[in-house]
């Protein structure tokens, strides 16, 4: 499914860019219980316990930066495994700075596979975009306050 959104933040594009290149800072914006660490400059991994209502599971997540264009664009892939299923996301972030503000547009495709897709979709659909939206809202607040 497609997810998309944008926000404006009172910060230089370089700061926003740097924030999203730090996987720990970035993943720390997840509401659900999580633990992440960097493997190298382009790869990170960790776990997040997430779900909707009582349908919850711990997902092992592997992340990799597919593209980095200083201060203007970041592409990151997340591969999650849990509940015998796969949750994969390709996220594209586009940054543009104007008058001391940075506008960030984010969009991506989320692919569900396995039981979560075939048996649990009735439960999880509708929550994926909510979780993404809150992730970026948390990011905005952190960048602004930080």
């Amino acid at each position: 499914m497609h997810i998309e959104g944008d926000f404006r933040v009172r910060a230089a594009a370089s700061r926003v860019y740097a924030f999203f290149l730090d996987p720990v800072a970035f993943t720390d914006c997840l509401d659900d219980p999580h633990e992440f660490h960097a493997i190298d400059a382009d790869h990170f991994e960790g776990t997040v316990t997430t779900g909707v209502a009582f349908i919850r599971g711990t997902f092992r997540v592997r992340g990799s930066y597919l593209a980095k264009t200083p201060t203007t664009a970041v592409r990151v892939r997340l591969q999650g495994a849990g509940l015998g299923s796969g949750v994969d996301a390709d996220l594209e972030l586009a940054l543009s700075e104007a008058a001391g503000e940075t506008a960030l547009h984010w969009q991506g495709e989320v692919h569900l596979s396995g039981p979560v897709a075939t048996l649990g979709e009735r439960m999880v659909r509708g929550t994926v975009d909510k979780k993404a939206a809150s992730l970026f809202e948390n990011a905005r607040r952190k960048i602004e306050s930080g």
Partner: protein
Amino acid sequence: MAQPETVHGGIGQSILRKEDARFIRGKGNYVDDVDLPGMLFLDLVRSPYAHAKVTSIRKEKALAVPGVLAVITGADLAAAKLAWMPTLMSDTQMVLPTDEVMFQGQEVAGVVATDRYAAADGVAAVEVDYDPLPVIVDPFKALEPGAPVLRTDKGKKDNHIWHWEVGDKAATEKALKESAVVIKERFYIPRIHVSSIETCGCVAQVDAMGKLTVWMTTQAPHAIRTVFALVSGLPENQIRIISPDIGGGFGGKVPVYPGYVIAVVAALTTGQPVKWVEDRTGNLTSDSFARDYHIEAEMGATKDGKLTALRVKTLADHGYTDAAANPSKFPAGLFHIITGSYPFATAFVEVDAAYTNKPPGGIAYRCSFRVTEAAYTIERMVENMAHHLKMDPAEFRLKNFIPPEAFPFNSALGWTYDSGNYAGALKKAMAMIGYDDLRKEQAEKRRKGELMGIGISSFTEIVGAGPAKQFDILGIKMFDSAEVRIHPTGKVLARLGTKSQGQGHETTYAQILAEELGISSDNISIEEGDTDTAPYGLGTYASRSTPTSGAAAAMAARKIRAKAAKIAAQMLEVSPDDVEWKDHKFQVKGVPEKSKTMAEVAFAAYTTNPPEGQESGLEAVDYYNPPNLTFPFGSYICAVDIDKETGQVKVRRFVAVDDCGVIINPTIVDGQIHGGLTMGFAPAMMEEIPYDAEGNNRAGSFLEYLLPTAVETPKWETGKTTTPSPHHPFGAKGVGESATVGAPAAIVNAVLDALEPYGVTNIDIPLSAHKVWKAIHSKDAA
């Protein structure tokens, strides 16, 4: 058939089933009921991805789960050269992956534990990393240049598996050109799944002597034993396959599935018995599918409605490997029965097969090899042609049928139909349903804007594979067998090479022997399914049991009769030439009061000195190689009402007239037809396994794979005509699948007949409310 003196439980009698005694008491013995000391349980890790590289499988956490004893991966199997196995079509199939997974739900690892719950815990604890790869679910895209190649392991450069064609291409081309009327239609017959209520499973045990015994949900135990021997290298005499009671087969229990092999490996490695029973999701996502044919058909006719030629081009989606259960000479099965009940002068059929990221298969769904696809296509096309020519579909068929006097009939695509009376069956069906009144009612309703439709299907089946010259599976000829033994007290034990899955063989085979031996069927025991005791046979599928093993039973009985006649002559103190078999006993010609029953002869066979040059005892074996297939047929008429606003279809009446030659047990045949009709209705109206772009199976449980309940299932009305098979020992034909083959077209024809005002010429099955609604309302808009 009527004998002046009938034998109890002979051919043609509706006796009650012997096997019921255990089933109604809950004492059936299905694979999951097998319980052995120290038995372990196997559960399977399955891939969530339809196509991915398996980058790592970590066992540690699973092995730490209490009760988990072992985790088996493709690497483990590769060490024993068992990571891959051959399919019935001589393609190759993964048991467990060493590199890539090719479809969602594919077996990725096996977990062996002391009970099912611990095994499930272990499955949840195995950590597998995947790198997703591009997914192909559309066979047309699979064949496009530049499409990712799935079977690089076979050194393939594209996803094309094979091309197969039959018929006269040029003559068909010419005939179509010269036809006054030519119609063309595309049909997609989607993936469906037999979903017998019992899923697949096995219990594998290796004894102290190193002998492997496998209790297994299989329709073909002997062939499985040979395949196991060839794949594992174990001597065939050290392998015993036992097919106990089977909870429905319908074709789904013909193939060898990875779970069976992993269970055997687990038993060999742990030294303990191992049980594997698949859950329903595993069953629906990884067991062999049926259908998945994309068909394009062209049909020609003269202006006055005489059919001239048929051309069919088909793309077959086989998933990631060709694991179809077909006779090896026929990669598209018996699809070339597609000229159906009509004497086409010429026809041409071609089929191409493609690999996709779906489970393997191409097995039957209660239908002999691809016959439903064929019958559906021809009966849909004939109906469309009748509508196109503004002729009544019944009249149109009566005008075009192969006439009774034309049998044996050689079809344009190379079959020799044994016997038939197609007009007889259709006329009977029309009388039963009151065809003319229904047409009147329909005209009324149309005036009022109500949607009512009447559909016909006059199908010809082709079953009983098959003659050795044409039919083999992995090289094994498709004969079948019977071994009949009469005990001194005149009681009978017979063993056959087939395997009942609900068809009632313990009753019907006993009836055949009762008729042939003059011994009450109560005194005849039937055994099947144990490869250590039963004679070799190819098993039960494709409606072949009665045409092959049933025939073998009759032939073996006749061998016994020939021997017994000499003993009877000795007892009656006459020359063998003066003895005849009449009224189920041996009589001195012209002196009926001087006679001996088979029981009397049997006793003598063991207690007196045998006639000169004859052995003691009274038994015989027959391996029957049928001279031809049998061609049952029927005419079905369906009447539907459609809710215009919602697209919901209600089958108001459905009349089925079947002709399967001489009937052994009318009640059992009726039951087979009821079930077959329901498995024709289901794919026509409800069942489908759709895949999304990610390759997710969208019908992985009975929540989405829609088996009809007693509420949706129409109230079937059945009738019969009897046209014996001229070549079968007692004139019988197969019948188990006729109704599944014939029913879908009747239902779809009825719906499209109702929608005629909207100019709709096709809706692909299943006819969901949404599809029917769309057909109505898109035309409204237009």
